[in-house]
């Protein structure tokens, strides 16, 4: 394995700046790794080797000409396939969009292009980001590089597996209920869901508009910070994007500290009922936080009990409406039934053939939750719970700077284990969902391996809205302590990827 691909993003930036390596070399090294492990891990739905190398060449030319380049120029990246791109198909993991070429770039993609980052390709996801394992991708699941028989988390399993198998130093994800953080936890990578509105959603194929947030996937906190700084900012095309700057995440990550920080341990998410190995690593991490000068305080968030219920009403309700546009009239798949069908029959046949089982399940659920007879009982009630959860966070943050919990109840599970049991699948997100309902930022940082299965465990920090920098501070500090104890990086624990 090329040593180049094992470098952190921040190291690669420095090497390129110093002229020790070219962007073409860095990009080619990652394309080589994709060629080597791509089939086994199945992170990518589309690989853009030519355009990535063209960008890399352009960066090298401009660097040689002495031009001042953007911070991340020449650093390759992978993009989740629910972001619109003009030069590669965008499928959102669904058959209904197979081969669709967007006539516009998502704002985030434009920012990556402006940053002169070679885009390696589009990464796999559960269909329309509905799932926790990528098993609901219409194009087959991605694998967990730590154990190819296990899930890489979802929905962003393509991005998490690409970064954890060194196919890309960085990736873009989207997090509606944990789709960046859960894959981060089970692949030993760092995943961040920024404050709602910190990153423009323009060009992100919407799952649930009030919950969706784009964020970075990386192998360490500083790398993630570089990416968030590159993609954040107000976008006039997204009314819900924040107008204020959240400051420099890179600065926060570089000056990580725990001293004097009040860390709120959420009573409802302190690990009861979680896998023992997860609880052990979490308990150790809490001790490390205390040792480093943080104060652990317990906070009570009683409404979290209803978070999953509320989430699985609000999300399907919004999704049922967001996905209505997939009707065969203007773009995407069209299935024309026999005979002389009406447009309604064409729409129905297309949606029947184009959508997978989880998507149909949620459309039906959401349509029901919004219907006039059940609106108050379901959608209306869920909105009330959402308000209560926001209040729980308000009172928790009155006592603590950041909150903490394990990111997920278990380590990576095996394929097929939960795919036929939607409720068990939904429970993976028990710790991540509240942040989406409240619009606050969250980070998952790897804290070692579970004793029973030697698989990665993640810790989650949550901060008040707009205080994303606090996550980078505590995340980077804890990461530094752990790397100090281990004498190596998290990914150095990963077994060698056995590929043919």
């Amino acid at each position: 394995m090329s040593e180049l691909i094992r470098k952190n993003a921040s190291e690669l930036i420095e090497m390129m700046n110093k002229g020790q390596v070219s962007s073409v070399e860095v990009t080619q090294a990652h394309l080589d790794q994709i060629a080597k492990v791509g089939d086994a891990v199945h992170s990518f739905l589309h690989i853009s080797a030519d355009s990535a190398l063209a960008t890399a060449k352009e960066v090298d030319r401009r660097r040689a000409a002495g031009e001042k380049l953007p911070t991340l120029a020449g650093l390759p990246i992978a993009v989740k396939d629910n972001l619109a791109t003009t030069d590669a198909p965008t499928t959102a993991g669904s058959k209904i969009l197979e081969g669709w070429l967007a006539p516009y770039d998502a704002t985030v993609v434009t920012k990556l292009r402006n940053e002169l980052m070679p885009i390696l390709g589009k990464t796999n996801l559960d269909e329309f980001a509905m799932g926790s394992s990528t098993e609901f991708s219409a194009y087959g699941p991605s694998k967990n590089p730590w154990d190819l028989t296990r899930i890489p988390g979802g929905s962003g399993g393509g991005s998490s597996s690409a970064v954890s198998s060194f196919q890309s130093p960085l990736a873009i994800g989207s997090d509606t209920g944990g789709s960046i953080r859960f894959p981060g936890a089970v692949t030993g990578t760092v995943g961040i869901k920024p404050t709602y509105g910190a990153v423009s959603r323009y060009g992100l194929i919407a799952l649930a508009s009030s919950l969706d947030q784009i964020g970075p996937v990386a192998r360490n906190v500083l790398d993630a910070a570089y990416l968030q700084d590159a993609i954040a900012g107000h976008d006039p095309h997204d009314s819900t994007s924040l107008t204020n700057s959240l400051g420099s995440m890179v600065e926060a990550a570089k000056h990580g500290s725990l001293k004097g920080k009040k860390v709120g341990l959420i009573k409802q998410l302190s690990g009861d009922g979680f896998q023992q190995g997860v609880r052990n690593r979490f308990a150790e991490a809490l001790k490390l936080l205390t040792d480093a000068g943080a104060e652990i305080v317990e906070v009570d968030c009683p409404s979290f009990e209803y978070a999953i219920d509320a989430y699985y009403l609000i999300l399907p309700a919004e999704a049922s409406s967001n996905l209505a546009k997939f009707d065969s009239v203007r773009f995407g798949m069209r299935v024309t039934p026999e005979g002389n069908p009406t447009i309604e029959r064409v729409m129905a046949a297309t949606r029947e053939a184009g959508f997978g089982p989880e998507v149909k399940r949620r459309i039906i659920l959401g349509t029901f939750a919004l219907s006039s007879g059940s609106f108050d009982k379901f959608y209306g009630a869920a909105l009330k719970v959402r308000t209560l959860i926001q209040r729980d966070f308000d009172s928790a943050f009155a006592k603590a700077d950041v909150l903490v919990s394990p990111t997920a109840p278990t380590t990576a599970f095996k394929f097929g284990e939960k795919v036929s049991d939607p409720l068990a699948m939904y429970l993976n997100d028990i710790a991540t969902i509240p942040a989406n309902l409240a619009g606050i930022p969250g980070i998952s940082v790897p804290i070692g391996l579970a004793d029973e299965d030697n698989l990665p465990v993640g810790i989650q920090f949550l901060a008040p809205a707009h205080k994303d920098a606090a996550l980078y501070e505590v995340g980077a500090a804890l990461e530094g302590i752990l790397e100090g104890i281990w004498g190596k990086r998290m990914m150095d624990f990963a077994p060698k990827l056995e590929v043919n």
């Binding site: 619109a84 516009y104 997204d238 009314s239 409406s321 546009k325």
Partner: protein, 501 residues
């Protein structure tokens, strides 16, 4: 479509109380669409003013047009409404191929304006207060054209074309509360109300307000109940009636149709109905129940609409004079007789005359053209005067050509018909076709002398003081001039020449 049996109108009014409710859609004349930067101009080549947002491509997001919000607030204020300080948009979910996202971004719970009222005067001079329930913002849908069917309708069509230029065009929907007590004048009230809305949005400058182009569209709800019955009757909603005349006729028709059914022991079906201008009748559309489930929920892609008090007060201060004050002012300025002025108002000619006067015509001659010849032509073609192919500037030109004696009334009618046929402006037509009256006295005198010489008996009579005999000579001269002479001048010259010859 079989024409339903109708009850005699007077009898229907005698037996039943009429309740109407009006929904008027006003298309705003903003430069760009409601939620994207596309040009708000759906007359262009199909699907040229479109973008990922208004054709609902995956990943696209709406952004509210601030100007449209201001226009909507102005409309609300002009209707005496309160303005919602913290409103927002909702999604109205239903599948239809002209609706790009398969939901319409509209306002549901908290419309931008609510609880207003306006006074409406009907032709008899009676005044009614119409209560406004709400005025809300929404986006228009695209336009479907059905190909291969018999009548351009979807039934029987082979396929349909969609033009999304109109998708996302900003609309304000103004909804009245039920209007009671208009009795026999309910149809006139409906038309007068829509006319007033047109006047208001036009005066505000927020819409082109041309009904024939669909800038203002009306859905008329009509129900009737036996006098004294408390429970409202079942209503029908006649959709997209696109002229004032049609509104009046459609409401009248529905009253007569429903009265016939109820009197015969039948029941009214709650449904939408379509107005057929040619047949003068409505026909059943789709059944409509109050339980139509649009699964409204707050639009999560947009932030709340929170107009500041400063903005609202600025727009309030900028409101043009209200229509009643305007009428009073124009009546004085124009100096029409009371009846003349009322006719102008009732015929919906006020705006046209005002514009024509602004273009330089004298008020009386502008009135004469619109209330006379143009109304006659519109009537015979069964359309609104507004729909005639002539602009106020052209009418002013025509009126001034007559006023200055350059053409006479007969030639003017000929010029008018050429303008309506699209031949150009009156001045152009007069020039191109050489229609200007012969004002060269030399040519006239030559013709007169000729005519007098060939009719010595007439000349004699004139000299004897039998002035009426001059008619024969005048006729001959006008014929020689092919009608292009000012008859009064010819008469003057005939008398002059007869004396001097």
């Amino acid at each position: 479509m079989a024409k339903a049996n109708l009850m005699d109108y007077e009898k229907a009014i005698e037996l039943f109380e009429v309740v109407i409710g009006l929904e008027v859609h006003v298309e705003l004349n903003t430069n760009t669409k409601m939620f994207c930067g596309c040009r708000n101009d759906f007359g262009d080549e199909p699907n040229t003013n479109v973008c990922p947002i208004c054709i609902g491509l995956p990943g696209s997001l709406p952004v509210v047009n601030g100007k449209a919000v201001e226009s909507s607030i102005s409309i609300g204020l002009a209707l005496g409404c309160q303005i919602e300080p913290n409103g927002g948009f909702s999604r109205k979910n239903y599948f239809y191929p002209d609706l790009a996202k398969n939901y319409q971004t509209s306002q549901f719970k908290d419309p931008i304006a609510f609880e207003g009222q306006i006074d409406v005067e009907v032709p008899s001079g009676n005044k009614f207060t119409v209560l406004i329930e709400r005025a809300h913002m929404e986006e228009d849908a695209g336009k479907l054209t059905h190909i291969g069917g018999a009548t351009g309708r979807i039934q029987g069509a082979e396929y349909s074309l969609v033009d999304y230029n109109r998708a996302g065009v900003p609309l304000v929907e103004i909804v009245t509360k039920p209007v009671y007590g208009a009795g026999a004048e309910a149809p006139e009230l409906a038309a007068a109300y829509v006319r007033l809305i047109r006047e208001i949005v036009k005066a505000l400058g927020v819409s082109e307000a041309r009904m024939e182009r669909g800038n203002v569209r009306c859905d008329a709800n009509v129900s009737i109940r036996p006098h004294g019955q408390e429970k409202l009757g079942t209503r029908t909603e006649t959709k997209n009636v696109n002229s004032l005349r049609s509104i009046e006729r459609a409401v009248r028709y529905e009253i007569q149709r429903q009265a016939h059914i109820l009197a015969g022991g039948g029941t009214i079906t709650q449904e939408t109905r379509h107005w057929h201008e040619d047949k003068g009748a409505t026909s059943a559309g789709r059944p409509k129940s109050d339980a139509d489930d649009y699964r409204y929920f707050p639009e999560p892609d947009l932030v709340p609409v929170q107009p500041s008090t400063e903005l609202i007060e600025r727009l309030r201060a900028a409101l043009p004079e209200n229509p009643a004050d305007r009428r009073k002012r124009l009546a004085t300025e124009w100096g029409f007789a009371e009846l003349e002025f009322r006719d102008v108002v009732n015929a919906g000619l006020m705006d046209l005359i005002e514009e024509t006067v602004a273009q330089g015509a004298k008020p009386q001659s502008a009135r004469k053209w619109y209330a006379g010849e143009l109304s006659r032509i519109a009537n015979s073609e069964e359309k609104d005067v507004l729909a005639l192919n002539i602009t106020p500037a052209q009418v002013a030109e025509l009126a001034n050509l007559v006023e200055s004696g350059k053409i006479n009334d007969r030639i003017a009618r000929e010029v008018l018909s050429a303008v309506l046929d699209g031949a150009g402006s009156p001045e152009q037509i007069v020039k191109e076709r050489g229609l200007e009256v012969v004002s060269d006295d030399g040519a006239l005198i030559a013709a007169i002398d000729e005519a007098l010489k060939s009719q010595p008996d007439v000349l004699e009579k004139i000299r004897e003081g039998k002035v009426q005999a001059a008619g024969a000579v005048i006729g001959a001269v006008m014929q020689a001039m092919k009608g292009q002479a000012d008859a009064a001048r010819v008469r003057e010259l005939v008398l002059e020449r007869a004396a001097s010859l």
